[in-house]
Structures are given as structure tokens and as C-alpha cells.
Symmetry: C2
Amino acid sequence: MSNTKKRIVILAEGKLDPFTAKTAAGVIRYRREEVIGVLAPSHAGRNIEEFLGTGSGVPIISSLDDVDDPDTLIIGIATPGGVMPDEWREYLREALRRGMEIVNGLHTFLSEDPELRELAAKHSATITDVRRPPNDLKVGMGAAASIDSKIILTVGSDCNIGKKIAAIEMNNEARKRGLDSVFVPTGQTGVMIEGRGIAIDRVISDFAAGAAERLVLEQKHREWIFVEGQGALLHPSYSGVTLSLMHGSMPGAMILCHQPTREFVRHTDFAIPSLRFLIELHESVMSPFRESQVVGISLNCLDMSPEDAAKEIERVESEFGLPTTDVIRYGASKLVDALEVFFQ
Amino acid sequence: MSNTKKRIVILAEGKLDPFTAKTAAGVIRYRREEVIGVLAPSHAGRNIEEFLGTGSGVPIISSLDDVDDPDTLIIGIATPGGVMPDEWREYLREALRRGMEIVNGLHTFLSEDPELRELAAKHSATITDVRRPPNDLKVGMGAAASIDSKIILTVGSDCNIGKKIAAIEMNNEARKRGLDSVFVPTGQTGVMIEGRGIAIDRVISDFAAGAAERLVLEQKHREWIFVEGQGALLHPSYSGVTLSLMHGSMPGAMILCHQPTREFVRHTDFAIPSLRFLIELHESVMSPFRESQVVGISLNCLDMSPEDAAKEIERVESEFGLPTTDVIRYGASKLVDALEVFFQ
């Protein structure tokens, strides 16, 4: 999937909650001008914004016929384990018959599906599996700890909590200030948004840190590098991905992402630990390699009233003495301010 | 590679140091009666024990002709990234021409090499890639935290430090005591020794914890489960593998492995942190899921005199108040004693 302007339809039939459809939400939020529809027949005619909290004006459609000249179909979901719902196959066939590009971020590579592959060949269509890792990865060596760039990694109290958005918003804010800054995508949605990057969670675990290291070293000519976080250091499913990313990217600063209303680690019965504990633990696991600090907190208040959100932000800020905001509601300037001071 | 009795030759030409040839060392130590030779022409006639510290009586040979009826050729090395030296190809060809089974633990799958594959087919030989993961793995869910078994994981201050040996020795000691105990291999050498298990470091990082979880849940009918550790929580190359294994296997007790003479994390310039810091950190990352403690310390004193080793063991034991031993020199009974008390 190149970065030239596309006419994108996002497939999300039956999966229109903001967690499952987080790929849809991310692409809509950051490639809004290219998205011409969300394919979700069960909800055709409804408003996508009410489901995803973003995407005003993007129509929910029941067929590819409902939009003009779509050229790209993005698989809009991120399921645990990343398997495609069987009932989506007919949508994929239809897209391939039209010669469209299918962009898939699931663990299951669609380009290896014999039927879809054959259809693609027949109709000169393309299947892009964004999670396919490069085949020349190496183990990480901690090399990112010694480059001059200011490296910032978003980390989280849980997965699916706003790490990608926080990193993108901070990078956008930094660029607005004229800083020499770049966003480094490390997950399927980030890769779809930027058209580059590696989905770290799809990499052989021995090479996951090496993949993160490569992504950072590629940008070492930049002054500011905002790295998209993955998983959570204390999520029992994905903690290894997170630690590989931390030790591969070697951030000098971290921004901790959290959702105040969330009590349990997603898909489990384990309670989310205190932010105090999380801050100390993230700093501890970095300490043998470089002094790295949690410099700010990004709260995801999507399910709170503006008043409650403002109150919670103030409370967290005063409890931890760390700049705190909700980057969706208030932007990332408070966090970038803090980072500029921290890295002075 | 099945568990029936074999006539094994281990290929280790040019790689006869105990770190690089750790697969050779592990197989010789624990399948001693099946190993009939080490193929390493440059050192033919020398004593394998002087190189690996184990394997008294195993001849170093210069050709497969030097031994009678070899049926298995094991690739005896573990390199970072796991690539096979090109100059070994002729040895592999020769083994296949003889109809032998090649057992390979490298990341590079030899069964996918067109030339070797064709040769194997022609001569009814077999190529077994022990690092090939099952293709139906799922993400971990922390489920091992709620089984009744006593789960013990070996962890380390560094990689290549004695985690596998400590786990095997403790399991052997437990079985000697009549306990219902099992060893769970999680790496290439462990899998070769036991003929079962999954090399966690070869698993897609999203599924690494799930693979560890599966291995433990398969043994939940056992009272004691000794899990082979991988990597190190603070090794920048492999930390993600380690944390996936910790959160997948959910140990109630950990044994910390360390080499007193080692100052730097292998292949890097990073200093090994203090044991105090390591103990606290391992317990911290487990604490949201279950109370897990470092219950003992296993010191690898292979490069110390008996007197220095004894002195260091005593010093560490008194500094941390934890039972400490060198399982190779003194056996694992002190550690199993401590575990029996801990789990009472």
C-alpha cells in the first residue's frame, strides 16, 4: 500500500465496536480524506461516527456498488490472534474481481490463500499483507540507546488504549512546531496509515527487538522520533511484544497511556495495576540501558463526560506531578511542551 | 526426532566453544549414551570434554566414516539469529546420502532448502527442524496462573547461563524423590533432549506467551512443572521472549541463574545489573498475576576453582538469604529442598 492518494473502502461488517474495529478507526482518523465508505451492510445508512467516535461524513455502505471507483479495500479489524471472519470472503472476492487492492493487517496472510491469490492474478488485483515482516531481520543489540535522536515511546496500562494515537498526535504537534520529527509505526494500523513500518507483533519473537531497533535506526538522522507502542508491559498476552519494543527502540522518554474507566486488562480478569507501579516498572526495565523516564500521561477519556474528563486529568496530573492530557480532546501540545523541556 | 534410542553424531566443526556449541553440550550431557561422536575435523582426536566441560569418552571425528552406523546428525550450535555456516553444507549432504535424520535447531529451516530437501527425498532421509512452531498457536490468556501444579521457571541474569540445565537437574532431583514432576522444554536444545516442546523464540511474538501457556497447561495433571527459561529479562536481544515465557508459564517460583564471573550481557557492552535488582524486577513483573518469588539461586561456576566457587556460593547465599548452589558441581537438592518448603 503506497502513500499516494487512494479511494479507500474499509470492511468492518459486524465488527463496528471501537476496539475490534480499531484499524478502521485509525485509518479513518488519519487518512480521512481518502476513505469513501465503510462496508458494513448490517448498519448501512447509519453514521460511522456514532460507532467509532471518528469519521464524520463517511457513509456506511452495503456494497462496493454504493461508492464511485473504489480502488482499495482495507480489512478494518484487529482481532486477538488476527483471524479473518469466514463470512467476509465474498466481499474480498468482489473487490478482487474489480481489480482493487486488498490491504490486510491480520496475522493470516490473504496473499497465501489459493482462491484469493488466483482471483487477484486473474483480475490484476493486488493483495497486500501489511503484517508480513521483512525476511532479513536480526536480533536487537540495544544500538538505539546510543543514537543522538530524542526517542519517545508510548506505553500503556493495557492494550487498545491509545498508544498509536498519542504517538501520532505528538509527532503532528512537533512538526507543527517546526521540529525535525517522525512517527515510527510498529503495528498493522500504523503501517496502513503511514505506508511504512513493521508490525512487530508478527515478527518471530527472537527478532522482535531487532525489528524495532531497525525502525529507529532508519530514522537516526531525525531529531525527534515518536515510536508507536504495542501491547502492554503487564498484559499477559502481549507483554513480550511490548518489552521487545522497549529494548529495541530504547526510548529516552515514555508517555504512559491509560483509560481511567478501565479496571481490567482486556480479555482477562486481571486488574490493571496502579499507575505509580506502572511508571516505576517501565523505568526499571529501561534502567540498565539508559535513563528513561515517563514524562507525561495520555488519558483516553472517550467514555467520560467533558467535565469528568477534565476533573480526572487534573487529579492524575496532581497525583503524579506529570503533565497529563487527553490528546483526542485537547491535543498533544502539553505533552510536547513537557518533552521539549525534558530533552533540553 | 523421536525419543527412541539413536546413534547420534553432533556437527560442531569450527564451533567448539561452550557458548556457541551449547546445543552440542546439552545433548551430550543429557543423551550421553546415544552420542557416538562429534563431527569437528579441525579437532579430530582431541577430547570433547576439554571444550565443552562434558562428554567424557565421546570421540571428536573427522568424518561420518569414523563411527559405526550413525543414524542421526544433530546441528550442534546456537548462533544469535540462528543461521547455518555455509561450509557445513557438505556434511549435511553426506548425512542425507546415508539416509540419516538431520535434526536442526536453527532459525533457518533446513527442510525448506531445495537441494537438501531433494537429497532427503532421494535417499529416504529425514530433516527435522525442531524450532518449527505448531501452526495453531493462540495468544496467551494468563491461564497457567490458576492451575494447581507447582510451576517453577528458571530465569537468568543473562542468556546462555544455565537455565536449561538448572531446570533439568531440579526435575531429575524431584523425580528421584518420587515427586510427580516434569521438565518442560522451551528451546531448541531442550526439545532435542526431550523429544517434545516448543522453541518459544521461534514463535511469532504475539503468540509466544500462548505457546508457553500451552506447554504448561498440557502438564497440568502433574504436581511439579519445571519450565526451561529462555533469554533474560534484561537482555536487549531476547527480553521479550523471556517476558512472554514468564507471563505464559506463570511460575509460582523462580530460580535465578547467574555466572559470577560474567560482567556484561552477552554480545553487548551493557553491565549485568545486581542480583538484588534482578530478583525484585522478576517478582514485580509477575505480581499483577500471582505472587511469585525467586526461591533460590543457581550459580554457573564452570570457570572458577572449586574453592572460589564454594566461597562465592556461600557469599551469595548469605547476602540474599536464598539457597544457592551450582547444580553441575553439587546437584540440585538444595534448590528442590527450598522449593518443597516454599510450596508447602
